[in-house]
């Protein structure tokens, strides 16, 4: 397989025909019912949630919504959630836990929205709470990064038992643009930043952050929606079944350990300088 550079992938996932969750959901799930609102403040268009069927099994779907055009993007705020989006996701996750439904998170966001209202409504608290609560949810959680996985805004749907990356998806602590801006005070050096920040599916496998890479059709997901949806569905059917078979306490232990072991440091002895 011809591996693309991180920057080529960035261009690919920004392709105007890159499929979004609005394309994927009807392909992958049956009888999908969208459920709105966080029951606290409002309904955030950047994250849609709902119940549907994956094969025979009812599942809860939480998905970040990139618009396919300006109209859709206005509604979904270019997939940048406000706190109520994360709170809706948590509400539906708790509901899934109650009814013993596995949770499928579809990640595709440049990041949590940065704005006055988002701050006033506790963007930090909303994300933090999801991290803590998802770690303890007594039902399987599978996350897939579809395109862009931007920082804490992505991680808020990324505390899971298994993380998959679409082949060309990127997942990063900061957008390459933001990274370039901080590094060189020059956002236009995105291409170089992309390489340095190490955010491709292969990088994430190496760091133990992702467990699976879902292959995309030649030239990228937009070239064959049917095929890429099939690949995603196949992965989900297998993993959901596998995780559902597992003893829930063991599953939770493994989920904790998955994140617990990430970190690169050294201690004493070898550093006496």
């Amino acid at each position: 397989m011809n591996k693309l550079s991180a920057y080529e992938r960035l261009e690919l996932i920004r392709h105007k025909n890159r499929p979004t969750v609005r394309d994927y959901i009807p392909q992958i799930f049956d009888e999908f019912y969208e459920i709105h609102g966080d029951r606290l403040y409002g309904d955030d268009g950047a994250i849609i949630g709902g119940i549907g069927r994956l094969g025979e099994r009812p599942v809860t779907v939480l998905a970040q919504v990139k618009g396919r055009n300006i109209e859709e993007n206005k509604k979904s705020n270019f997939a940048m959630p406000h706190p109520e989006g994360y709170r809706k996701a948590l509400r539906l996750a708790k509901q899934a836990e109650k009814f013993k439904r596995p949770i499928i998170c579809l990640i595709d966001t440049p990041g949590a929205f940065c704005g006055v209202e988002a701050e006033a409504r506790g963007q930090g608290e909303a994300i933090a709470k999801n991290l803590a609560e998802f770690m303890m949810l007594r039902t399987p959680v599978i996350s897939i990064v579809l395109g862009e996985g931007g920082s804490g805004g992505a991680l808020a749907l990324g505390v899971c038992d298994e993380l998959a990356m679409l082949e060309n998806a990127l997942y990063s602590v900061i957008s390459p643009r933001g990274f370039a801006n901080i590094l060189w005070k020059d956002a236009s050096r995105e291409r170089e930043a992309c390489q340095i920040v190490k955010c491709t599916a292969e990088d994430l496998m190496r760091f133990g952050v992702a467990e699976t890479i879902i292959p995309e059709p030649v030239g990228g997901a937009h070239n064959d929606l049917y095929k890429i949806s099939e690949n995603i569905k196949e992965f989900l059917l297998e993993k959901v079944e596998e995780k559902c078979q597992k003893d829930i306490d063991l599953l939770l232990k493994e989920r904790y350990t998955k994140f617990r072991k990430i970190g690169e440091f050294e201690e004493n002895e070898d550093i006496a300088n």
Binding site: A112, C114, G115, V116, A118, E119, A120, R121, G122, Q123, G124, E125, I127, A128, K129, L131, A132, E133, M135, M136, S151, G152, L155, A156, G158, V159, Y171, S172, V173, I174, F179, I182, I196, V197, K198, C199, D203, L204, F207, V209, Y256, F259, R260, I262, G263, E264, F265, E266, E267, N268, I271
Partner: protein, 294 residues
């Protein structure tokens, strides 16, 4: 009287960047002789500022403390036993200049990374404590910060001890790429497990608490305390200003703003911090015999 002195100092030294003749004069005076408050912009002699435990006498801004200063003001003298004092980070994404930068900071600050953790007593009550130090890469969270905090929380869970974290951070440490992001999940997960055991976690937000730290353990306290006038937020102020194309009021993203919006439980002045913590610990059943009454 004192105020007059500040005025003189202010007119002489305020806002000069070494270009005017005042700037020339400023050169004779070491930089660290004066402290300019980032909130009210009043200038004060550093010695005076230190004697006030780094609280601005004009506006009550609670300035940044080093780990040692914080411990001295918070815990019982001689009670601190440090955890993981030798842990240092690697360079997981081979970030250019990261190792050098850290070596330099280690020399300058005598820290190994941006957090110090350990066990101590506060008025006889045993706690696990973590203190972040903004001098070290703005106390950003990478592998070492994440690991040390997580270990501290896990130890507290094991020993059934309360956790007190003095948070300060610019956010995730981007020099460690995605690994730094994962520290948010790691620390938050450890807090969730600590909480599950019915144990108390008090998070104290100090200047500045932002980004990925706000979006993880800092916001998960059973009790969230903030010091007066400190910056607390998720997104960078300039990022938001850039988006909305206007300047935000000074009040935005302060401790007082966060209290008003419902994300901080109480604002506590430094001089009352130790007694407040001790009282809260006692109210949750922790005693100076280190017995947890459930």
């Amino acid at each position: 009287m004192l105020e007059d002195l500040f005025k003189v100092v202010k007119t002489r030294f305020n806002g000069t960047e070494g270009k005017s003749d005042e700037g020339v004069r400023k050169k004779d005076i070491p930089d660290d002789l004066l402290f300019k408050c980032p909130r009210c912009l009043q200038t004060i002699f550093s010695e005076e500022y230190a004697a006030l435990n780094k609280v601005c006498p004009s506006c009550n801004y609670h300035g940044r403390l080093t780990v040692n200063e914080r411990l001295r003001l918070t815990i019982d003298k001689g009670s601190f036993v440090e955890y993981d004092s030798d842990m240092i980070s690697k360079n997981p994404i081979d970030f250019p200049g990261y190792a050098e930068k850290q070596a330099k900071l280690r020399c300058e600050t005598n820290l190994k990374d941006a957090v110090v953790t350990g066990e101590a007593t506060i008025r006889g009550i045993k706690v696990v404590i973590g203190v972040m130090d903004s001098r070290y890469m703005m106390a950003s969270m990478g592998s070492v910060v994440g690991e040390k905090l997580t270990r501290a929380i896990e130890t507290a869970t094991e020993k059934k001890l309360p956790v007190i974290f003095f948070c300060a951070s610019g956010g995730a440490r981007m020099q460690e790429g995605i690994i730094s992001l994962m520290q948010m999940a790691k620390t938050s997960g450890a807090i969730a497990k600590h909480s599950e055991q019915g144990l108390l976690y008090i998070s104290v937000l100090t200047d500045p608490t932002t980004g990925g730290v706000t979006a993880s353990f800092a916001s998960l306290g059973d009790i969230i305390i903030a010091e007066p006038k400190v910056v607390i937020g998720f997104a960078g102020r300039r990022v938001i200003e850039g988006t909305i194309k206007q300047r935000l009021p000074d009040y935005f993203q302060t401790a007082e703003f966060m209290l008003e919006k419902g994300f901080v439980d109480m604002i506590v002045e430094r001089k009352r911090m130790r007694s407040t913590l001790a009282h809260l610990l006692k109210l949750h059943g922790y005693t100076d015999e280190n017995r947890y009454n459930n």
